[in-house]
């Protein structure tokens, strides 16, 4: 009998832009693995449902996949809210859940494995670079929800450590598309660079409007380029002077990456860009395969024994990535990329492999205790 993988990705609604590549990444990995003989000889059956960006649907479908389809593992979710919708349901089962996005970090939950990048891998690298290169004054525009707010918190903490100042912080409600006021505020605050962690298609209009108003400031981000491929969607030079730190972006040109890109484009010739979410989704299934084969079982408890060895690693297109036993987050090879006025992307700095160390540092140790909680710099374990 096959191994059943439940997948929850939005391919309708506002977030379809992101969900589609995630589905594609999963499909590609499943196809490759099945061709190569499956997991321990068992074929993978991928059951994908489309929650349409609706948290209630995430819950319905998480229940459906776990109790009706009886999947062996659940993968997916885009926004933090969808992840938080899924977690309580998964916590009442013994089925592992893999979250495949880069996110604001801090979830300390034994039932969840995260394979996207987290702030210590992105902000702790990018922000000091930006401050050194462009100056100590930063202005933040962030989407007004948990991701944006917690990311802004990280920024505040790191900027302070480095002796800089946050000259302005603006939280934008999701769905807002008009930024004239914001642009004026930025000009008034005179920052050296802007941290752009605005989210969603509507808020992306910021780049176009800022360019039209000749704002022309350096920008840094943890989600632009590798995730939303804004440099492909907007006419140059809207994204000029954007920098980001990423474990994956399509312009990466190592031989493994080239190989992976070739396979992807062969299967999905019409997709504009392979973003890091699609890439993570692809890796997630290989990581799962590695865990199951290591444990010779699909049970969460057994998989966690493999993680606990500290050797739960695979060779991903970016290089070797491993799951950290204490936080169950994944280490990544991080690179800093920069966009020029023609929207060409080049690697400016290679940070090597960075561990997801923050959770362990603040006291999350899943090998000892299952917190099931999400922590932030201002909300640490007691």
């Amino acid at each position: 009998d096959p191994i059943k993988i439940g997948l929850l990705e939005d391919i309708s609604g506002d977030l379809a832009v992101l969900g589609k590549p995630k589905l594609n990444g999963s499909l590609l990995a499943v196809e490759e693995i099945n061709k190569a003989g499956g997991i321990m000889g068992r074929q993978i059956e991928l059951i994908h449902l489309d929650p349409q960006g609706d948290n209630a649907r995430y819950q319905e479908f998480a229940r459906r996949l776990t109790s009706k389809d009886k999947v062996d593992v659940l993968i997916g979710g885009i926004t933090s809210a969808s992840r938080e919708a899924i977690r309580p349901i998964m916590n009442r089962t013994t089925i592992p859940y893999i979250y495949t996005n880069q996110y604001e970090g801090g979830v300390c939950d034994a039932g969840m494995i995260s394979n996207g990048a987290v702030p210590e891998q992105q902000f702790s690298t990018m922000i000091p670079y930006m401050m050194e290169k462009f100056g100590k004054k930063v202005y933040v525009i962030a989407a007004d929800y948990n991701f944006g707010q917690i990311s802004a918190e990280w920024n505040r903490m790191i900027v302070k450590e480095q002796g800089g100042t946050v000259v302005g912080e603006e939280f934008i409600p999701l769905g807002v598309s008009q930024f004239a006021q914001t642009i004026q505020n930025i000009q008034k605050a005179k920052p050296d660079w802007i941290l752009t962690i605005n989210v969603g298609a509507a808020q992306d209009s910021f780049f176009e409007q800022a360019a039209a108003a000749k704002l022309n400031l350096p920008m840094g981000s943890s989600i632009k380029i590798m995730l939303g491929f804004e440099h492909k969607r907007f006419a140059p030079p809207a994204l000029n002077r954007m920098q980001a730190v990423a474990n994956w972006f399509e312009e990466i040109d190592t031989p493994e990456a080239e190989e992976f890109k070739k396979r992807w484009h062969a299967k999905f010739p019409n997709e504009t860009y392979i973003n890091d979410m699609g890439y993570n989704a692809y890796n997630a299934i290989y990581q799962y395969k590695m865990l199951v084969e290591g444990a010779k079982s699909t049970k969460l408890a057994d998989l966690r024994k493999v993680i606990a060895t500290g050797k739960a690693c695979i060779n991903a297109p970016e290089g070797e990535i491993c799951i950290d036993p204490k936080s169950q987050h994944t280490s990544h090879r991080m690179r800093l990329i920069a966009v020029d006025e023609k929207h060409a992307v080049k690697v400016v700095k290679d940070y090597g492999v960075i561990q997801p160390y923050w959770l362990a540092k603040i006291g999350c140790d899943l090998t000892k205790k299952n917190d099931k909680k999400q922590y932030t710099p201002s909300d640490l374990p007691k």
Binding site: V17, V176, A180, Q181, S205, A212
Partner: protein
């Protein structure tokens, strides 16, 4: 500040102008309003990619939305004049079909075309000239609606039809054509909004949704006489939003605008035009 105000005003008016006709005058609760905006934007961007100059592409976008509006009116909306509440359901269904259909057919996002260059500086601030074009567009749309509906025979016939279609027909008004044309004009104005904003925004099939609350709110606050009410409603809401945006950021601006809507309606239960006509008499 003035620039910010003009900017918000343009956004409110352009997104509301088409709805003012379709909802305010014709009584159709058009949930697909955003999709007409999207249509105008997509056609514009598509044509620019195909090598058209931007203004021409915008004109085509507007017209395309108008023509589609006429078709939609004849195929669907026509049935719902006598039961406006059901038009909500029908157009909502239509909107779902269109947005998701676009997603499947065209893909999740389309490459942008870039805002026409040009900026000017005032003191420390630089502004995009194109935003002024938007403001001019908003004024033009208001003027156009006013002229068409107040100063032409077609306008008189259209208003007669909307107040009492049967009687208008009995007096010789070709009601079907008048309805189709009015809806077309409304859809075209929505298309204009999309066409004008296309260069400044990310194009996705659900982009219409970002306009819909603002447009309904503006039209309703304007009151039943949209020709009278929409502009002052735009001014009032833009003023509230701009000052709150400047004071404490966009969230407060947005929440504040909605609270202002609640308060305005509470104080003027017939909307701004109701208040103005009462004053007049």
């Amino acid at each position: 500040m003035l620039y910010q105000f003009a900017d918000v005003f343009a956004f409110l008016i352009l997104s509301a102008a088409g709805l003012a006709i379709v909802f305010g005058m014709m009584g159709v609760i058009n949930m697909a309003h955003g999709e007409f905006i999207m249509c105008g934007a997509y056609v514009t961007v598509g044509l620019v990619h195909a090598g058209f100059p931007l203004p021409l592409a915008q004109l085509c976008g507007t017209l395309a939305a108008g023509v589609i509006g006429v078709i939609v009116e004849m195929a669907i909306v026509r049935k719902f004049y006598t039961r406006p509440l059901d038009s909500l359901l029908a157009t909502w269904g239509l909107s779902l079909v269109v947005t998701q259909g676009m997603l499947i057919l065209v893909g999740s996002s389309v490459a942008g075309i870039g805002t026409p260059p040009g900026s000017f500086a005032v003191g420390d601030y630089t502004f995009s000239v194109y935003r002024l074009v938007l403001f001019a567009g908003a004024l033009a749309a208001l003027g156009f609606v006013y002229l068409i509906f107040m100063r032409t025979k077609f306008g008189v016939h259209a208003r007669a039809t909307m107040q009492n279609a049967k009687m208008a027909r009995a007096l010789g008004v070709p009601v079907g054509r008048v309805y189709a044309l009015s809806f077309g004009i409304g859809a075209g104005l929505a298309g204009l909004c999309g066409a004008l904003y296309a260069p400044t925004m990310t194009l996705i099939p659900t982009m219409g949704a970002t306009f819909i609350v603002e447009s309904f709110v503006t039209v309703v606050v304007g009151g039943s006489n949209v020709l009278l009410g929409t502009a002052p409603a735009g001014i009032l809401l833009a003023a509230v939003r701009t000052s709150l945006n400047a004071w404490h950021g966009q969230i407060i601006g947005q929440i504040g605008m909605l609270i202002a809507v609640i308060l305005i309606i509470r104080i003027l239960p017939e909307g701004i035009s109701g208040f103005l006509t009462r004053k007049q008499r």
